[in-house]
């Protein structure tokens, strides 16, 4: 079992559920999502209900997270972007806690499922397209033409921009999935080496797993941050279209 580093990513349905031909069975990943929802909701609601001017530890943590996301939203989208704050903040907290909970041995890393990250990425990108067309109409197609492009370059620029636009959700999904998967694969491999190496040499990969765990903690945070920043950037692009507003970026 230890020999296969991909083993931790395997899923098994605990409770098979079928709604109208749609398989919505409960498995480890789904349970972890529920745990994450419960954790985030508990933290934020309890901390939010304190409402003390001089915050306690829990309130400080919640405020730090909220202030952090608010900073991202304001930096990338400006004051008008605050209407997307609840969405962006929920996304950040959900991904961050999925990444962090996944680090607990024996739990499951939901964000290491490509389909999970893809749903987020394509939803965010789809939302940015909807906002763009809703706010700017057909002019939103101008996002394919960077400002200041000479007319004779258009046949070259439009396909390039089209590809870069299409790459956005894919890169967004793959980045998070790959980072989360790779980290756990490396941890799995190192643990495998520890077990198979025995006492004589096995301590060396074990030391590395400790260091890797610290690194993974950082990556869990950074990947959630990157996902959130890019979400804000895409939404901001649709919102402002070529930075009509000087607050954009």
């Amino acid at each position: 079992m230890e020999e296969n580093p991909l083993h931790p990513f395997e899923l098994h349905n605990f409770i098979p559920i079928n709604i109208g031909g749609l398989d919505v069975s409960i498995n480890k990943a789904v349970l972890t999502m529920w745990v994450v929802v419960a954790l985030v909701a508990a933290l934020m609601v309890v901390a939010g209900s304190a409402r003390r001017l001089v915050p306690g530890k829990l309130q400080s943590l919640a405020e730090m997270l909220v202030d952090f996301i608010r900073g991202i939203v304001l930096d990338t989208m400006g004051e008008g972007g605050m209407r997307f704050f609840p969405l962006v903040a929920t996304l950040f907290l959900f991904i961050l806690f999925c990444n962090l909970v996944g680090l607990i041995p024996g739990s499951y890393t939901v964000t290491s499922q490509i389909i999970v990250t893809a749903v987020f990425a394509f939803s965010v990108y789809g939302l940015s397209l909807m906002i763009g067309f809703a706010l700017h109409g057909a002019k939103f197609l101008g996002i394919l033409v960077p400002p200041g492009t000479p007319a004779w370059l258009l046949p070259l620029m439009i396909p390039i921009e089209l590809i870069s636009q299409l790459a956005r959700p894919i890169s967004l999904a793959v980045r998070l999935f790959a980072n989360m998967t790779a980290g756990h694969v490396i941890l799995g491999v190192l643990f495998g080496l520890t077990v198979s190496g025995g006492l004589l040499i096995g301590w060396l990969p074990f030391v590395f797993t400790i260091a890797m765990n610290g690194l993974e903690l950082g990556i869990a945070f950074i990947q959630a941050y990157i996902f959130t920043v890019l979400t804000c950037v895409y939404l901001g692009d649709a919102f402002h279209l070529h930075g009509h507003d000087e607050h954009a970026h």
Binding site: L6, G48, R51, R70
Partner: protein, 168 residues
Amino acid sequence: MPQFESHFFSSLIFWEIVSFAILFVILYKYAFPAVLGILEERERKIKDSLDQAERHRLEAERTLREYEAKLAAASKEAETMEAAARERAQRLMEENEQRMTAEAERIKGDAMREIDQERRRAVQEIRAQTTELALLVAEQVLQRSMTDADHQRLADEALAALSKSSHR
């Protein structure tokens, strides 16, 4: 890779959307307004406190300037008053001196005049007495039969007395 086993996709997508929606609603309703509210309230409080501190500083500076101005004015006034008092004292002193000198002169003059009067009166008195004495002597001489020698002697005595009293 196990992540590409597509028969888990439907349940993962379904539960992801459901979980996310539930979390979104909970946070949107019960957490974000409260936390954002307290953050804004704190920012406002801090800003208010800073503003207030700035206002107090300006006020204190203004008060200080006022007091300094008042102090300068008071000190100037005191100087003026001191100068005036000094001048008045000087003037009073000079006046006093003049008056004293005049008084002393007057007293001296009075005394001189009095002495002079007294002397004159004394001289007159002596003359009168001398005359009276002469008359008295003459009378006595006339009452007695005198010799020539007596006459001579009496006349000499009278003259001597006269000259003596006039010299005194």
